[in-house]
Symmetry: C2
Subunit: 241 residues, 2 copies
């Protein structure tokens, strides 16, 4: 594994209750793949301090980068920042730099920077702020964990602030072939192909269309020549079946 | 916690690469919530045996029920059944009952039950088959783990086979209120309300509409009287702001 690896932690009861359909995982997965940083694991946990702390520690120890979404707003159920501080044994309080960002923003927009909103300036010691061009309240990086908002527009803006700073591997490129045969008809030669091209990821995704079975084969790797060679072989045996 | 709890394990490179947007998590979350079995954690891992085995063991030990999706088809990247067997130290091979289901289906549909398709009859010892009315190849239950397909139509059919057998808690009911105030304006009285109604889950979900900030408040619980009492208080202070 020459690539730095990544994991994501989605925090929020609303995802687990089925009320909200998470959009951030799919977005981050696409961005990381394009950057050459494979996303290896995602966990979704509720707004529960022990669950968040355990998951942050486990993922931080196992992967090069961890991205979190959710739980950094001003209300009582927003406990992510305090949990990240606890996970890494850091002190946390309202921090002057974050407070200044919020004070300027609320003064300009004529709203009150009350105690609840000040909660969004709670940042652990040693954390580096992540810019939020949408609604100002910052995310932050502590150790290898990037803490970002759950609202998709803000999450995406924060990802755009963070990703250019990371060193990716060679971007994964992919080729795909749509075959109008069921998985069961192509599994044997496909498995043999996958064994010979073990530097590529070869995935098989069945579909049904108008009552017929078909399979999308996706080849992923970093070397275009290997990818093209495998695709050529795949086309040959797909045509023979 | 009087409710039996649940976790889900989504298995598949295609989700983590961003190629496919997972639909099963959101579906299962809604079904479990309606049944009164709270979904407490979801993990998404790639088609990698150690990752699958570790996650299955961790979730099985921690939650009453574990539901998996993905990786039980006929191709080389479908390794879920073998990983579940390994996680629980069970022998696995083609099993006569599953083989019979497939043999009947493929004979009726005029296709060949080849070695690849026979992989879908690999079922661990002691597992109970889960009915698949869509495409016949069964899922299975072993210990407290329900192993189901990743294709959404098949996943949903298998969930429908499994859920009626489970004993749920009292179904969670919910009320919600849409307030045209930002989270920061309501956070203080909302936190105070949440502290007094700690038998309810009270979630706060910000939105923006036409440049204005608003918040959806969702109250969840099992006791309709408590829910209504909290909702009445919420309406009072929302109107006062």
């Amino acid at each position: 594994m020459t690539h730095p690896t990544a994991a994501m932690l989605v925090i929020g009861d609303e995802i687990l209750s089925g009320r909200t359909r998470d959009a951030n995982m799919h977005y981050l997965a696409g961005q990381l793949t394009a950057k050459g940083i494979p996303l290896k694991e995602v966990r979704v946990v509720s707004d529960d301090a022990p669950a968040i702390i355990d998951a942050v520690r486990a993922l931080s120890a196992r992967y090069a980068h961890v991205f979190t979404s959710g739980g950094i707003g001003p209300t009582h159920d927003d406990i992510t920042a305090d949990c990240i501080a606890a996970a890494f044994d850091r002190h946390i309080d309202v921090r002057a730099d974050a407070r200044q960002l919020l004070a300027d923003f609320y003064r300009e927009t004529g709203r009150e920077l009350n105690d609840a909103r000040l909660r969004m300036a709670r940042i652990p010691d040693d954390a580096v702020l992540i810019d939020n061009p949408v609604s100002v309240a910052p995310g932050f990086q502590l150790e290898n964990v990037y803490v970002m908002a759950g609202v998709p527009s803000v999450f995406q803006a924060m990802v755009a602030s963070v990703l250019p700073q990371l060193t990716g591997g060679q971007p994964l490129i992919s080729e795909s072939l749509r075959i109008l045969k069921g998985e069961g008809d192509i599994a044997a030669p496909l498995g043999e192909l996958a064994a010979r091209y073990d530097d590529l990821q070869i995935g098989s995704y069945p579909f049904q269309q108008d009552g017929r079975y078909g399979t999308n084969i996706v080849l992923r790797g970093t070397d275009p020549e290997r990818l093209n060679a495998a695709l050529a072989e795949l086309k040959t045996f797909a045509g023979d079946l």
